[in-house]
């Protein structure tokens, strides 16, 4: 599976999920599970760092949208980090830049959580 998932808790109730590789129909269930596990463990505020992601499809977008919805239902939030123009373009052409807060670095995203 060409997906890397690394999660850190920089402070209580806050997580940073760093993804790498390909987030597609095959690998996105792993990402969804990571988000669900964090929410169930009482971590409703999270940053998903897409810096290492080389490929993202609609399934991955769906998982991120679901994560954002569920985080907000728990008074949390899900912010994204991305500096890859190819990946950013997918958010732009689907209109998802209006839904997600996207930052250039994890530090910037954490400041806004």
């Amino acid at each position: 599976m060409n997906l890397r998932v690394e999660t850190q808790n920089p402070r209580e109730g806050v997580a940073v999920i760093a993804l790498g590789g390909e987030v597609d129909v095959y690998t996105s269930p792993r990402v969804k599970q990571e988000i669900v596990n964090l929410l169930n463990a009482g971590t409703p505020k999270m940053v998903v760092d897409l810096t290492g992601v080389e490929y993202l499809d609609s399934t991955g977008l769906g998982v991120l949208i679901g994560g954002l919805k569920r985080a907000r239902e728990r008074d949390g939030d899900l912010k994204l980090v991305c500096d890859n123009t190819r990946i950013l373009r997918i958010f732009e052409i689907t209109g998802l830049t209006k839904i997600f807060d996207i930052y250039r670095s994890s530090a910037d995203a954490l400041d806004k959580l």
Partner: protein
């Protein structure tokens, strides 16, 4: 008047399973890279083909037709690439998902986004179903910029 023959045709068949969508993406990357597409256009085609395969797998999920493969035919011309994705029509209705499961997967968002992406990324998109043959056809065309 006779039709112009394509320069080349490449056909790939993959199982209707998520782990093989990456194989289709790699293959189309190789095909599109041999044409006069820009880097961004090649990436657009790769994403569109991945979405086409994902759509087919989603549609077949729980239908009992996943043993039948997805076929991709790439017709290479001087000024365009046509990709025809043929997938089996579901022989039985897809397995119903519980509300909770559907919510967790956020399937609707993904499916809607998939169609949006394909239409934006490719120059021409059309789909049709042949019920007698049990085939769903998605035809996508990308033109080489002049």
């Amino acid at each position: 008047m006779s039709e112009t023959l394509p320069l080349a045709e490449v056909t790939l068949t993959i199982p209707s399973r998520p782990e093989y969508v990456g194989v289709a993406r790699l293959a189309i990357l190789g095909v599109a890279s041999r044409m006069r597409f820009s880097y961004d256009e090649v990436e657009d085609i790769r994403l569109a083909v991945g979405e086409a395969c994902t759509n087919a797998i989603d549609r077949l999920n729980g239908s009992g037709a996943t043993e039948r493969p997805i076929s991709l035919t790439c017709t290479i011309d001087a000024n365009r690439l046509m990709i025809e994705a043929r997938s089996p029509l579901a022989s039985t209705p897809p397995r119903p998902r519980s509300t909770e499961e559907a919510d967790l997967d956020n399937l609707m968002e993904g499916k809607e986004l998939s169609g949006v992406l394909i239409r934006i990324l490719m120059d021409e998109v059309e789909s049709e179903e042949d019920a007698s043959a049990g085939i769903h056809l998605l035809r996508m065309v990308k033109y080489v910029a002049r």
